[in-house]
């Protein structure tokens, strides 16, 4: 029964990874790639301090985005699960959160541009309120814009798993805690958060991997001015430098797998599903 799924993964997951690892040792000319065993791609990658800066940038984006999506996602899920009282309203409000998710990512991303631009809504509103005199340039084409877009795109991936685990918390546990005299904050900290941990971990895995693998958000929102590892790879691909793209991809894959491997130590996904 599991054979078809295995076959798909072998052909479209394992073989591509093997291919990338192989090609990362190849050489490239302007227009073709030549089989070889050459460490030059890795030497260049690790020899350039731009690489380290870009990896640092990638982690920075992932970490800041994670903090914001977790904060917002947890609060929203908590509100939906414990403060909205009827199931119908829970479903309605939950769906309301998911609707923007169905619009093309790219369109949602570029729709920030007229909002944040020098003459955009945000700036003209702030100016008309007298909060600022000059338009704020850092709203668009900056790290701020990149992280804003990430948070906008991926908070839902945090809300869904957390909401899902919260809904499965036995309400009598909370009542028991209240009867035992726990305050709201104590219940949140000592009962709800520990029980929601699996959902938080799953959401974290989603957000971290999506941000670390992204290359298009960074390009659009930074006006091509910042880079993360994904952009390094896509730039190389665009210039037909497949071997050097592959080498970067191998390093990125290892990094992501290590990060996720560490997280899986804290949660048994199979049991928590």
């Amino acid at each position: 029964m599991a054979l078809p799924i295995m076959a798909v993964l072998v052909f479209f997951l394992i073989l591509p990874i093997i291919m990338i690892v192989t090609v990362s040792f190849w050489q490239a000319t302007e227009f073709s790639i030549i089989p070889a065993f050459d460490l030059e791609n890795y030497e260049f990658l690790f020899g350039s301090n731009v690489t380290y800066r870009v990896f640092f940038n990638t982690f920075k984006y992932a970490f800041i985005t994670w903090v914001f999506t977790l904060g917002i996602g947890f609060t929203v899920a908590y509100f939906l699960a414990f403060h909205v009282r009827t199931l119908t309203w829970q479903i309605v409000l939950f769906l309301l959160c998911t609707i923007p998710f169905w619009t093309s990512n790219i369109i949602r991303m570029i729709s920030w541009i007229p909002f944040l631009g020098r003459n955009g809504i945000a700036n003209s509103t702030l100016i008309s309120w007298g909060v600022i005199d000059e338009p704020l340039d850092w709203l668009l084409f900056s790290d701020f814009a990149v992280i804003l877009a990430f948070v906008h795109l991926y908070t839902l991936f945090m809300v869904v798993p957390i909401f899902n685990t919260m809904m499965r918390i036995d309400k009598s546990l909370i009542e028991a805690a209240r009867d035992a005299g726990a305050s709201g904050a104590q219940i949140l900290w000592n009962v709800i958060i520990p029980l929601t941990k699996p959902g938080i971990m799953i959401g974290t895995i989603f957000v971290i991997t999506l941000v670390m693998g992204d290359f298009i958000t960074v390009r659009f929102m930074s006006g091509s001015q910042s880079a993360n590892v994904g952009r390094l790879i896509s730039n190389d691909i665009a210039l037909l430098a497949y071997p050097s793209a592959s080498a970067t991809a191998v390093v990125l894959l290892l990094t992501v797998l290590i990060v996720i491997g560490i997280m899986l130590r804290f949660v048994d996904i199979r049991k928590e599903l």
């Binding site: 798909v8 169905w102 369109i107 729709s111 290359f215």
Partner: protein
């Protein structure tokens, strides 16, 4: 009912702000898509009209929106059906321990977390090195499955984790073959979740960009076309398309919701027919 606490109102306000944050950009482009014929991609607005929606249905200076829409739709359906079938099969297989089950599970997790562009690059390289032509319905299709199958399978695992085996035992005790048990007991029970899997499969595919980037060949899918448009189009026609896709997504969700509702109703009705036998 106890009265609402103060934290309820604080949280409600927070939730409202969150919704505003989610919808803000969508609303921005919806407004901008109603610009006059001289409109650009940014504020200030230049007149108001339905010009860009009409324009969307005419031939563009470059590219082919509707062709790519048809391809994305077809591909979405292909991916949807495959995902549902393979996920159910996988889910059933995982109910027993089998050789390689934990390897498969970790592969699924890897498939979920691997950066999309790696799949694109790898599949593209395999096809080009073996002299095959990439095409959205072959290489593109396979690449998208590596993204939808983990979702489908994980949902099925969750469903079967909570599946009450006594139904099947009862069916078997009544002399049902394993196929009959599957067809008449298991599938109807997991039906609503299958709609969820189908919905995931379709929309994840319909919206997939990075995995199709290097694997779709000569003909663009809709997200690739939209990406092309962001670099080739300077008019609000792009926003009109965005507004329309949002509306289209809403319709798809509504259809699936109705299906889910209808199937639970039918099941409820069928439940009351208990005793009339299953054939």
């Amino acid at each position: 009912m106890e009265p609402r606490s103060r934290s309820f109102y604080v949280l409600s306000a927070f939730f409202a702000l969150f919704l505003l944050f989610l919808y803000g950009p969508t609303i921005t482009i919806a407004i901008l898509s109603f610009q006059g014929p001289n409109g650009g991609l940014t504020f200030p607005m230049r007149g108001t009209s339905l010009h860009w929606f009409r324009d969307l249905f005419e031939q563009q200076a470059v590219g082919d929106i509707w062709g790519s829409f048809r391809r994305s739709f077809a591909l979405g359906l292909m991916v949807m059906v495959t995902t549902v079938v393979l996920s159910v099969m996988g889910g059933l297989a995982f109910r027993k321990r089998f050789k390689g089950s934990s390897i498969l599970f970790y592969l699924i997790i890897t498939s979920l977390v691997i950066p999309s562009i790696l799949i694109s690059l790898g599949v593209g390289l395999i096809f080009s090195q073996s002299g095959l032509d990439v095409h959205w319905s072959t290489s593109g299709f396979g690449s998208q499955l590596t993204w939808t199958l983990p979702f489908g399978l994980l949902i099925m695992l969750a469903v079967f984790n909570r599946f009450d085996k006594s139904y099947e035992e009862a069916a078997r005790d009544l002399g049902a073959s394993s196929w009959q048990t599957l067809r008449h007991v298991v599938l109807p029970i997991i039906g609503p979740s299958l709609i969820g899997v189908a919905l995931f499969g379709f929309t994840l595919s319909y919206d997939e960009f990075a995995r199709t980037l290097l694997t779709s060949g000569s003909y663009n899918t809709l997200p690739l076309e939209i990406f092309g448009m962001t670099t080739n189009v300077t008019t609000p026609v792009l926003y009109a398309l965005g507004t329309l896709t949002t509306v289209f997504s809403l319709i798809v969700i509504a259809v699936f919701l109705c299906l889910a509702l209808w199937s639970t109703r039918r099941k409820a009705r069928a439940g009351s027919d208990a005793g009339k036998g299953m054939l």
